[in-house]
Amino acid sequence: MAMQSMTLSRPPVARSRTDGLYEWVTTVDHKRIGVMYVLLALGFLVIGGLEAAAMRLQLIRPHADYVSPRVFNQIMTMHGTTMIFFVAMPLLFGFINYLVPLMIGARDMAFPRLNAFSFWLTAFGGLLLYYSVIGGYGLYGDGNAPEVGWWAYAPLTARAFSRGHSSDYWTLSLLVSGFGTILTSINIIASVLCTRCRGMTLGKMPLFAWMSATMAVLAILAIAPLTAAQMMLMVDRYLGGHFFDTQAGGSAVLWMHFFWIFGHPEVYVLIVPTFAFVSEIIPVFSRKAMFGYPIMVAATVTIAFISLSVWAHHMFTVGMSASSTTFFMITTMAISVPTGIKIFNWLATMWGGKISFKAPMLFCIGFLLQFLVAGLTGVMLATAPLTWQLGNSYFVVAHFHYVILGGIFFGTFGGFYYWYPKVVGRMYSGTLARWHFWLFVIGFHLTFDFMHIPGFLGMPRRIYTYEPGRGWDVWNFIVAIGAAVQIVATAVFILNVLWSARRGPLAGNDPWDAWTLEWSTTSPPPAYNFATLPTVKSRRPLWDLKHPEDPDWKYE
């Protein structure tokens, strides 16, 4: 189809590159806020990645002493906190912020100023976390990072065991960014429900919007308990409270419950937007409409619902009653049913399609395979007796990195390449993208496939070094090599992002011949998104437009 004749809005408005810092800092435009979220996340990705590299270097051989035990604990804490709260969350919120209004044919989010406020809360939360390095003991410029682990189990966080203020910066950081997350989730829900363009009923929304809204509901229900628990921790540390003070009858296990009632839904907060990316990319690159749209929506909502009742599978080893253990085993296994439905729906979408193996699709295929493996080790760990054996070992570390890196990050990289031309207006380099993909696949599998093995051999997680001669040495060496390959792959990715933003060929409005509304406007879209607000009749409005002889709305 000749796309030029189908331009749906005015030619690109001169969006000058000279817009200064002031315009960016004061913006309430959902697209700029989205871009700032992503840039914030990429900045923290580099920091969190270097922290991971430092840990793998320390563990590359037995009895290494590149970092002290204490510093190792700090790096471990910062790596976990950074990657979850300041890389994964802002990255996904960035995508959702940028894309949801465009996909539902709106000019902005429901509450643009609240949107900017949420972003700055998240950004300052990240700064607070790292400020602890300078301000941990007051204003002497001599601080230390929090060293209580990202889960901050009691009584590690009691004043007696965590001196100074580093744990307080951790708490404040999560409180502040948590408010940002809750507010932006409220905004996403209100936007999806209240700003859809004419004709876009709930049943005609792109799956992306459905999944973003589901994620927002889940984020509210997950982050709010964490916020409450952090408030209690503040009461304990500053007002002499006893919530988690075992000396005064308080319970350390209650903190674990509160933390994981946040912690497990959080996994789904991160993976559901990834499902959203994959659900948009796979149909376009298979040249088929999404298979089983209503079932996909139902499965997403079911996953969100069940994920609120699985948290204590993180606690099989603390000695819960048999009935609790059984309950959480059953719910955890039940969640694999809707997840399996999704995987089959994606496969059915690809089945018989004309698949084009461009970078977004490559990453989605990587996502499918790796997420499947992550799910399978997840079912293993859902079995309490197996967790009694493998809990707190490197097997668990390998499992959840398979989910987060192999699943969430692969899907997100796919989304990154898919929407890059829309956001930047220029195509990325396909060659560099393929290098990124294959290097990352190799590095990922070197690291995390082999990381399962020391877990089976009994290597506990969170240790700063180990004895030689336990059969762990060679596996840790391979894992470290894989980490190095991943660093190279990420460098290729960043190079591609920076280079293509200046030198890439112009992308045009719709480089993928796609079907959702964001491709109907210019790349990058003007501040107002659409000159005339669109009206839709089916789930694939651009298909209807390109194929007036055979529109979707005849069949839906």
Binding site: A190, L193, C194, R198, G241
Partner: protein, 208 residues
Amino acid sequence: MTRTGSASEKESTVETMPRTTDDAPWTLPSAGKVGMFALIGAESAIFVIFITAYTFYLGKSVSGPTPEILSPPIFLSACLLSSSATLEASIGNLKRGNTRAFAILWLATLALGAIFLVGTGFEWRHLIVDEGLTISTNLFGTTYYSLVGLHGFHVTVGLLLMALVAVFAGLGKVTRDHESKLEVLSLYWHFVDIVWVVVFTLVYVVGR
């Protein structure tokens, strides 16, 4: 779906997205209300965690005063709950254009909320000075002051917001157009009242 027809297809050109056939009204829920309900969802989750902690720690204090020292603040609770009614009546009057009745009932709401807050202050003073119960005394003190204090904080925020509206009303700036915004605020206030029903039942009835 059923939105088909020929009239629209003639209209749809390459320049515009296809139109729906009818100019059927396209109504969506109010963003303010949806946003407030979402916020209430988040607040509920926060309160659930504090309520869980209070319930879990009932009777687990190893020393110090127990919940038996509490006496139910029945008058204060009546004030707080009736403030929901005055608030509704106030907004109803604004809808009908009775700005004077609106302002009087609004101030009554504000006053009832303030009585609750001041009364809680006196109750706490009694607990601290006469009974020797502070937030750091024992688990009961920690959980009691946190839960009731969290609710009190929400009352305070509500009062500040309503005071702001009262200032605008005093300047004659609140008109019928603002009714939907005040309704969003009223959702918050009703939520704060409902939370008090739960907290009162748990702390002063069941847990004592």
